[in-house]
């Protein structure tokens, strides 16, 4: 499906403008109500029981698989043409594959979630360090405008979030939310509801990633066994 691949080539090409998009997206996130409907309402009209069909649809799976394969092909080409003649260590190769898969996953998220932007920003940060600094200075200014009167808005939000979960063992819950935030990329310093929402999306994306990579591994091992020239099984 050529349309699918051409449709997805737009996001990765503009790495410069994506950082400004981050700022704009963050601003709109805080400006709209902080309720959890902000991210979901865009993709799911009714957010009752059926959780986020965004990551479970066939189309999304195909998009991600196509992106993944392209990214993996680049990894293969780069590793074969690089100066490391004898095979690089399995760990390094595995890590490159993992990073390519994460990047493809983040791109498939279409920049609507924090963790995807954090994954992509990490790669950009490695290459262009200058772009991160203006982003950092702009964001606190934006958040102070919207969340009235708090300079260290992140610290203020943390105190607010401590207010009642089940009123028993608040510090435990808070601590667990913090550790959860450390697991999800880009959510180390966010407030509690943000972390929770990012975690829900991240888990589904990870599940899709696992499914896609599983099927890819199956396909490849099916091919590498001798005598299997039959047509590839439908995905």
């Amino acid at each position: 499906m050529a349309s699918l691949t051409s449709d997805n080539e737009q996001p990765p090409t503009n790495s410069n403008s994506s950082s400004t998009d981050h700022v704009r997206k963050k601003k709109s996130l805080f400006a709209s109500s902080p309720s959890s409907s902000r991210g979901n309402a865009a993709s799911v009209p009714t957010r009752d029981g059926d959780s986020h069909p965004r990551w479970r649809s066939e189309k999304q799976q195909r998009i991600y698989s196509a992106k993944l394969i392209q990214a993996l092909r680049q990894v293969r080409l780069s590793s074969s043409s690089s100066a490391t003649t004898s095979s690089p260590t399995a760990q390094k190769r595995g890590k490159a594959v993992r990073e390519a898969a994460d990047r493809a996953l983040a791109v498939s998220a279409r920049g609507r979630t924090l963790w995807s932007r954090a994954i992509l920003a990490n790669r950009i940060k490695l290459k262009f360090r200058k772009q991160k600094r203006p982003r950092q200075t702009v964001i606190p200014a934006v958040t102070t405008v919207v969340t009235t009167g708090a300079t260290s808005s992140r610290g203020r939000k943390r105190r607010v979030s401590v207010v009642g979960l089940n009123k028993k063992s608040l510090p435990t819950v808070n601590r667990k939310v913090r550790s959860l935030g450390r697991l999800v990329p880009g959510c180390k310093k966010e407030s509690v509801p943000v972390i929770l929402e990012e975690a829900t999306d991240y888990i589904q994306a990870l599940e899709m990633q696992v499914r896609a990579m599983n099927s890819l591994v199956e396909l490849l091992s099916g091919y590498s066994t001798p005598g299997s020239d039959s047509a590839p099984p439908p995905i």
Binding site: G149, V160, V192, L220
Partner: protein
């Protein structure tokens, strides 16, 4: 606790994070977790439990992805021509 409440009230009306909201999010998170989803005692699962299981689940998923990417890298390295055919067929489907 009341001191915190007053402080939160004065921070802003629009970004006050309510209990119900957080509870709602935790419930949604619980629906995602495989072990807690089918639990019949859905009212009694505490938030801490949900969060702990979420952390474990994410760690598991990370580990799975790492394993899969290692296997994938080996497969990619070993089978060049077969893989090229595969990629071509997959991309043109």
């Amino acid at each position: 606790m009341s001191g915190r409440r007053s402080r939160s009230r004065q921070s802003s009306g629009t970004t006050r994070i309510s209990e119900d909201q957080i509870n709602d999010l935790v419930i949604k998170l619980q629906q995602l977790l495989p072990e807690l989803r089918d639990s019949h005692r859905s009212d009694k699962v505490s938030a801490a439990r949900v969060l702990q299981d979420t952390c474990n689940y994410i760690r598991n998923l990370h580990r799975e992805v790492d394993d899969l990417s290692e296997r994938l890298s080996e497969l990619l390295a070993n089978s060049d021509t077969a893989q090229a055919a595969l990629l071509r067929s997959l991309l043109t489907q």
